[in-house]
Symmetry: C2
Subunit: 203 residues, 2 copies
Amino acid sequence: MSAPHDPPATRRRGRRRAGEETRTALLSAARSAFAERGYDGATIRHIAERAGVDPAMVNHWFGSKDALFTASLDIPLDPAVVFPEVLRGDPDQLGERLVTRFLTIWDATGGGPMASLIRSVAAHDAAARMLREFVTRVILARVVATLGPDQADLRASLVGSQLIGLGMARYVVKLEPLASADHATVAAAVAPTIQRYLTGPLT
Amino acid sequence: MSAPHDPPATRRRGRRRAGEETRTALLSAARSAFAERGYDGATIRHIAERAGVDPAMVNHWFGSKDALFTASLDIPLDPAVVFPEVLRGDPDQLGERLVTRFLTIWDATGGGPMASLIRSVAAHDAAARMLREFVTRVILARVVATLGPDQADLRASLVGSQLIGLGMARYVVKLEPLASADHATVAAAVAPTIQRYLTGPLT
């Protein structure tokens, strides 16, 4: 879409300043690059080239490759902000903190972005791959890394399954009473599941 | 779409025999009727009228309103066959039987129908409503009815959340190792969740 190596500033569209245009170009280039090459294969340098901007603009506008990846999926959280909060404190309360944080983030959006995300994932293999990499690399690898390597991949995918299902049930299918239940009720019911998937016996 | 009260046999398209044509007409009428009126509001008589066939054709082709509803959602199970099997036996093993049965049914399809279902549900409120009614009325009301009324609705929606999430993670997002794990591994990990949602403490 955007020309690679479009040199210093594009003549076609006037000088591309560090504005919304740069951010939008980076998001568009990131979506294509992550979908084609996966999380590891899509480098910041390559994404910046596709967008026709300096690689430093990724850090300027997003702060990190993780954050750019998250933004390109339209997920309303910044891992660099959320994770220190969730991981801090008693490991036995990790499930409860994760569920509560999940509800707080998605409730604030009314569920629209979750419906969009699920729509993309169901319709496009590339979007499914992006969500898969987001769940396993950005989110859960970090959580599980704090807990040790015992069946880490299986634990991560189990946590992913319950959180995706909670999002789908609460915001898309709107299964009652789960859709309208307050955070304390949902956390009391679901947090022990997440906690067991993270730290409990799986067999 | 099809004319209601199209008398005895439609002249327009030749004699409509009890064949695939009748089945297809019933499915199409059922999808519209369930989406517009919900499960309770869409009567067999009304669906048959929309399809221009005799109401007895519903039982002839599908066996029950439940089975017609399930078929109209393109869900590859027949509740009348599945439920007696799942509900039979030790109530403490219900979670395991439910998870194993879920995996057997969906693995047989390779996940295509699950992706189609999720795609419809994310894109259309009417499809979301149909899945909601399917989960709460056809599937879980029966399971929970065998276990008593304590927080039955919350339990049903929690089970729904984990099963929807398992389907999405295994067949659509293809989160590994959950996507390729054998039934025993998945059941060992997920069955205790389903069992607690059905019969365990939620607070």
